[in-house]
Symmetry: C2
Subunit: 135 residues, 2 copies
DNA sequence: TTAATAACCTACTATTCCGATAGGGTAATA
DNA sequence: TATTACCCTATCGGAATAGTAGGTTATTAA
């Protein structure tokens, strides 16, 4: 299950991508429009800024704005930053790999093989979709 | 991410499916072989029995055994019983649907559309794989 | 220069879930 | 009738989630 943090983050990015002009948008405006707790959203947008998706401007008329072209932003990268691994098991994760303690051999592990298939099909969908497709 | 409960459950089912004869297998044997905490596994197998995947026999020579043919057991049904929803959001779940409070309209929701695609591709993989394929 | 604005940062909290453990009860077998 | 092994309930520490609170800093406009 996707965390609300990730869901809200995607919604906020899509909100920004929908806008025609790229002037900064305040956290409060996005929060109001998308029904998100303002303070919670604040921490998410900060996260997205630090990860290089958003730029920020302080003071009056300030806010957040997209840095890159929505077409260039794959949903895989968004989800990896907000949620973490896309795979359903650490031992099949490309970016957050961890060995299972209980599993002596990944090659013969039945669950492993299945979860690689799931990972690849998910990766395909999320890789084909960009922020532009959502907006 | 898949819970350990689900992972262990699948491993246990695969262990039973690998056996040629269908005599009962004790919890302790599966736990030893798959490196799972015996007591934890016990609750999982109980769960699988109540869900109709396993049969159980008490007393000496007792244990758990598969009720159905592994070819007939889709991984979707196993995961739904152990983990719950397969979808990444409640609002796109077929079997555990819940409306999002923050979302006024699912049809126009950007995240919703994306997660339906992810759900369908995952469902395809898990539906095509049966317990027999894992064993 | 000062007041207002809005991002930035730190810390805290309530709730829930996960992964397990403990300890006994019940039914079947030898 | 003793042993075996499933059955059931209850508990528990730790981690994560979903926020909340309160103050700091940088920018803008009056």
């Amino acid at each position: 299950m996707l965390s609300k943090k990730t869901k809200y983050g995607i919604k906020a990015l899509a909100y920004l991508a929908k806008r025609t002009d790229k002037t900064p948008v305040q956290t409060a405006e996005i929060a109001r429009s998308e029904n998100i707790s303002p303070k919670f959203l604040e921490s998410i947008l900060l996260n997205l800024r630090k990860s290089g998706f958003l730029g920020a401007k302080k003071g009056k008329g300030g806010g957040y704005y997209l840095i890159k072209d929505p077409k260039e932003i794959q949903m895989t990268s968004v989800i990896r930053v907000l949620e973490g691994p896309i795979a359903m098991l650490p031992c099949v994760s490309l970016n957050y790999y961890e060995k299972c303690e209980d599993c002596p051999d990944e090659v013969t592990c039945s669950v492993h093989k299945l979860m690689i298939q799931v990972r690849d099909s998910t990766l395909k969908v999320l890789g084909e979709n960009t922020l532009a497709d959502l907006a």
